[in-house]
């Protein structure tokens, strides 16, 4: 059985409220503020899942950046 691929919704095609959150997410990432970036990525991912759509590459990359930031800031054990 083949799986039907989900359509990719590009960032430029996001509804304004989600696009705004993405801009804030990106801004937080750029100033290496992982906690704030976390606040905004949740609703963005929720939107993609609820829309049954796939994320564009930019979000994949930015999510990886977020994890890197979090790992770098993880308290020393």
């Amino acid at each position: 059985m083949t799986t039907q691929e989900s359509p990719v919704i590009q960032i430029s095609d996001l509804p304004p409220n989600i696009r705004g959150k993405h801009e804030l997410f990106g801004a937080a990432l750029n100033r290496e503020d992982a906690a704030t970036a976390r606040l905004f990525i949740g609703p963005i991912l929720d939107f993609y899942v609820e829309s049954d759509a796939e994320i564009p590459e930019e979000i994949n990359i930015d999510y990886a950046r977020l994890i890197l930031l979090e790992e770098m800031g993880r308290p020393q054990q």
């Binding site: 976390r38 991912l45 049954d52 994320i55």
Partner: protein, 275 residues
């Protein structure tokens, strides 16, 4: 139907993170590692000292993350975890060099990539069977992703070497072809070029792949006795050399092109018509 899209997996990961689970949490790590890697995604998975992060293999991603990755490895956190900062830095630098090399080779090898479908299947199978404890160096140039980690067991080391050998064989063919074209051009154009191309041929051929790989195998065998840190250092050297060869080959290609252009201009042949 709940399709396991990247969006869903990232959303799940987000929820795991919100629950306070670390990147080392088995379920979280599994969720990230088993993400479907679509053609557009191009994700590289890098695992070091048991921690796992995934980073993109796109040009933009590599550029943006290179400094962060080096900083990450050099951070006090990793220092405390590994106690081998120097090796760690070598390893991550070699990792990024290897990523660059893979990206270059993916472009250059063209149709040869199909030969690596089997390798892709092997990698996937190995990933499944070894689960979260995958410890091997893979330079997967057939699909969308490259995985690279430092091998810590003899078995995994051997697998890593097999993979590197596969890649090297493809590279050898490619570089041999470049050398041959360069040699022909050098013979043809030497009078005009002042032997530049010939010099490049010598440079490229001075470190033959056969001798090189024999040396690598020997070094890795010795390093394996000294532990993963030493292995990582050798892999760093391997990646560095591969990168160097790639640069040489690029230079050779440029020379070939310039000679070809010169050959098409009769006025540059000392006024003697060429036949």
């Amino acid at each position: 139907m709940n399709k396991l899209t990247n969006a869903r997996r990232l959303r799940d990961d987000h929820r795991f993170q919100q629950e306070g689970r670390s990147i080392h949490d088995p379920e979280r790590k599994k969720n990230l590692f088993n993400r479907p890697l679509s053609m557009g995604t191009q994700v590289a998975i890098w695992s070091i000292v048991g921690s796992a992060i995934f980073v993109p293999l796109t040009e933009r991603g590599v550029t943006e993350l290179r400094d962060a990755a080096i900083k990450h490895v050099a951070s006090p956190l990793i220092t405390s975890v590994t106690g081998k900062v120097e090796n760690g830095i070598h390893s991550i630098r070699s990792t990024w060099q290897a990523f660059g090399e893979v990206a270059v080779m993916r472009k250059e090898l063209g149709s040869k990539l199909r030969q690596y479908d089997m390798l892709q299947a092997q990698i996937n199978e190995r990933k499944m069977t070894n689960g979260e404890n995958v410890n091997l160096a893979h330079y997967n140039i057939s699909g969308d992703a490259a995985w690279t980690t430092i091998p810590s067991t003899k078995k995994d080391l051997q697998k890593a070497l097999d993979t590197i050998e596969e890649m090297t064989r493809a590279g050898e063919k490619e570089f041999s072809a470049v050398c041959e074209r360069c040699r022909v051009q050098a013979a043809d154009q030497q009078a005009n070029s002042g032997g530049i191309a010939a010099g490049l041929v010598q440079a490229v051929e001075s470190d033959t792949w056969q001798d090189y790989m024999a040396g690598v195998m020997s070094d890795l065998a010795e390093a394996n006795q000294d532990g993963p840190g030493a292995v990582g250092k050798v892999l760093a050297d391997v990646a560095g050399s591969l990168h160097g060869m790639s640069v040489l080959a690029d230079e050779a290609r440029k020379q070939v092109k310039s000679h070809e252009a010169a050959a098409e201009e009769p006025s540059h042949t000392h006024g003697i018509a060429r036949r």
